[in-house]
Amino acid sequence: MKYLFLLVLLVSCSSGFVPTTDKCTIRKHIEDSVWQILQNGEPINKKWYLRTDAISKTKRLEKLNVCNWVGIEESH
């Protein structure tokens, strides 16, 4: 069973890594100095962070292949 599992794992890994094309940005709250992470324009969760934390988190998401860090959204 152990070898079967390893075989399955090797096969699935060797199928190729597909980099994401999703884009991540951060957007400031209208009133407060907290920021939300957006993936393709939509919030990834209901959490808001300090700006530097939001940027750090987004860069980690980039490493996890969740999305590509693009920049800060400006709201009008």
Binding site: K28, V34, W48, L61, V70, G71
Partner: protein, 338 residues
């Protein structure tokens, strides 16, 4: 059984039709004005011509205001940094039943007179409830040293103020045109002498400037404004020519989730901000305590892999959204991202 099903269906449709019919319209705005639709967390920026529905909350930011025209011919001006809830608005040929909540900030209302029939209009601030009929008045709702403080001033007509929520010998008082009171002053003195009369100058100013507001009658120190000096000369009462320094005390965290879909441009992260702090454009001293505390301790906590996040939740019975802070590991990326 069939009749029961029919009545339930009729009730459902009647409620649906009531809630989807506009009860007012935005006729003027300045600055940042939003509405929070009942049952939803998001707030939507409004502009002139936008319709208002029963149950909507109107939220204005600093240096902003809006004027709403209601279907009964009344007008309400919502002042800066305010949250105003149109709880109920029923207008028929022979009946009018309207209820409004002033959750914070300033409002100025001019209520149209209804000729006949049942007429019940209530404006509720946190500690005072005002019953009005064909009148023009102003309400301020704010905090002084963490406690609610509400002002009411009557320009025309008559109002009856319900004071059951404060410590005052009478449950109800009637105001005459030109009279004003502060809820804490009434509570402290327990005397009708606390109801004061606006000077002729102040009354004339407020009447002639239909978008002006009453300055807060209780100062952040807890003292009360002296009616002997004109109230409307120095304090900021009108927009948009505001040069005012109305003492706005620290209001409990009450913020809206800012999911306004207005972004259209992406820029690279800026390295330097006005305050020198990469987390905020405002000066640190202007930030609410929870954000200021997080910024000041950010570097120290990051060494221990501790970070903060915030979320917003509606508070039952209060309206609006309140901000909450929680801790988490800085590298906590264990989220189920779709």
């Amino acid at each position: 059984m069939i009749m029961k099903s029919f009545s339930i269906l009729l009730l459902f449709f009647s409620f649906s039709s009531l809630s989807s019919e506009p009860i007012g319209e935005i006729i003027k705005t300045k600055g940042s004005v939003y509405k929070i639709v009942q049952g939803e967390e998001q707030r939507i920026e409004v502009k002139v011509g936008d319709k208002i529905l029963e149950g909507d909350q109107i939220n204005t930011l600093i240096k902003s205001f809006t004027k709403i025209s209601l279907i009964d011919g009344s007008n309400i001006v919502v002042g800066p940094n305010s949250l105003f809830h149109i709880k109920e608005l029923n207008v028929d040929q022979d009946k009018r039943q309207n209820k409004f909540d002033i959750l914070k900030g300033k409002i100025r209302a001019k209520i149209n007179t209804v000729k006949e029939g049942k007429d019940e209009i209530l404006f509720n601030s946190r500690v005072v409830s005002i019953g009005v009929r064909g009148t023009e008045f102003l309400i301020n709702s704010y905090d002084v040293k963490g406690l609610p403080s509400d002002d009411v001033a009557l320009l025309e007509g008559k109002v009856n103020a319900n004071l059951e929520k404060i410590d005052f010998p009478q449950n109800n008082i009637d105001l005459d045109p030109g009279q004003a009171f502060n809820s804490n002053k009434l509570s402290q003195t327990k005397s009708l002498d606390s109801i004061q009369t606006l000077s002729a100058e102040d009354l004339e100013y407020l009447k002639k400037n239909p978008e002006s507001f009453l300055p807060e009658l209780q100062l952040p120190s807890g003292e009360f404004r002296n009616f002997d000096k004109p109230l409307t000369s120095s304090a900021s009462v009108s927009l948009p020519t505001a040069a005012v320094a109305v003492p706005i005390s620290a209001i409990p965290v009450l913020a809206g989730a800012g999911s306004v879909a207005a972004a259209s441009k992406v820029v690279a992260p800026k390295r330097k901000q006005k305050s020198g702090n990469p987390n905020t454009d405002k000066l640190l001293k202007d930030e609410p305590w929870d954000i200021r505390d997080a910024i000041l301790n950010q570097a120290k906590l990051a060494k221990e892999n501790e970070c903060f996040y915030w979320f917003y939740k509606p508070i039952p019975g209060r309206g609006g959204l309140e901000r909450f802070r929680r801790e988490e590991a800085c590298d906590d990326d264990d989220e189920d991202y779709e």
